[in-house]
């Protein structure tokens, strides 16, 4: 077993551990937004590591180019995709878990509506969702 193969296996197993973290987060986290956060970050990084490891097991020039493009695309689009899903969830009124701080969301709503911020824009009671203008 060559040194390159050992490096490839270490990268693949590291990627699988990160990816399994995304799976555990999807099962265990309490609301949609935490799950989207886990999937967007961990799955993108995990698949990128697995792809780099796999290309090191058969490193031809064509494979290296294709894998480099795939890794860049993966890192660029994974977080964007899950953020799009989470934003659509906010806009369609999915509930936040109890204890989530909504101050930033209130500020964004007020800015979009063109209204000055009040001092009372604290976290709202749980279960209540974003009212007013779309984010």
């Amino acid at each position: 077993m060559s040194v390159l193969t050992v490096i490839a296996y270490v990268l693949i197993l590291a990627g699988v551990v990160v990816f399994a973290g995304a799976g555990v987060g999807l099962l265990k986290f309490r609301d949609t937004y935490m799950r989207a956060s886990a999937v967007g970050t961990a799955a993108g990084l995990g698949i990128a590591l697995v792809t780099i490891g796999a290309v090191l097991t058969m490193p031809t020039t064509a494979n290296l180019v294709k894998a480099a493009v795939a890794v860049v695309l993966q890192l660029a689009t994974a977080a964007v995709g899950s953020t799009i899903i989470a934003r659509a969830a906010v806009n369609s009124g999915h509930a936040f878990a109890p204890g989530t701080s909504l101050i930033d969301l209130d500020e964004a709503d007020a800015k979009l509506a063109g209204m000055p911020l009040t001092e009372e824009s604290g976290p709202r009671p749980s279960g209540e969702t974003s009212e007013g203008s779309s984010v």
């Binding site: 099962l27 989207a36 999937v39 697995v50 695309l73 993966q74 995709g81 899903i85 806009n91 999915h94």
Partner: protein, 84 residues
């Protein structure tokens, strides 16, 4: 059992976890997030199967599957309805 076999089994377990989340829900957004992870798992299994049996066309498929998974995430936005 090579490390590649172990990796394929682990990613298949994540795939089953996302299928469970799609079945169990409870909301449409949870299903959309789980479908996102399911497409990532398919990409990962594709990569590892290509490395395990040394197929030549693997990374072409991986490139296409990466793009399709992003398009799937964007179109999953339509699952939830509501305001844009």
């Amino acid at each position: 059992m090579t490390p590649l076999d172990i990796a394929i089994v682990c990613i298949a377990a994540v795939l089953l976890a996302s299928v469970y989340r799609i079945v169990a829900g409870p909301t449409a957004a949870d299903r959309a997030v789980a479908a996102d992870l399911l497409t990532f798992s398919v990409v990962g299994i594709l990569v590892l199967i290509g490395a395990r049996w040394e197929r030549l066309g693997t990374f072409d498929l991986v490139l296409i599957a990466t793009l399709v998974s992003f398009l799937a995430a964007v179109s999953a936005r339509g699952l939830m309805g509501g305001r844009r």
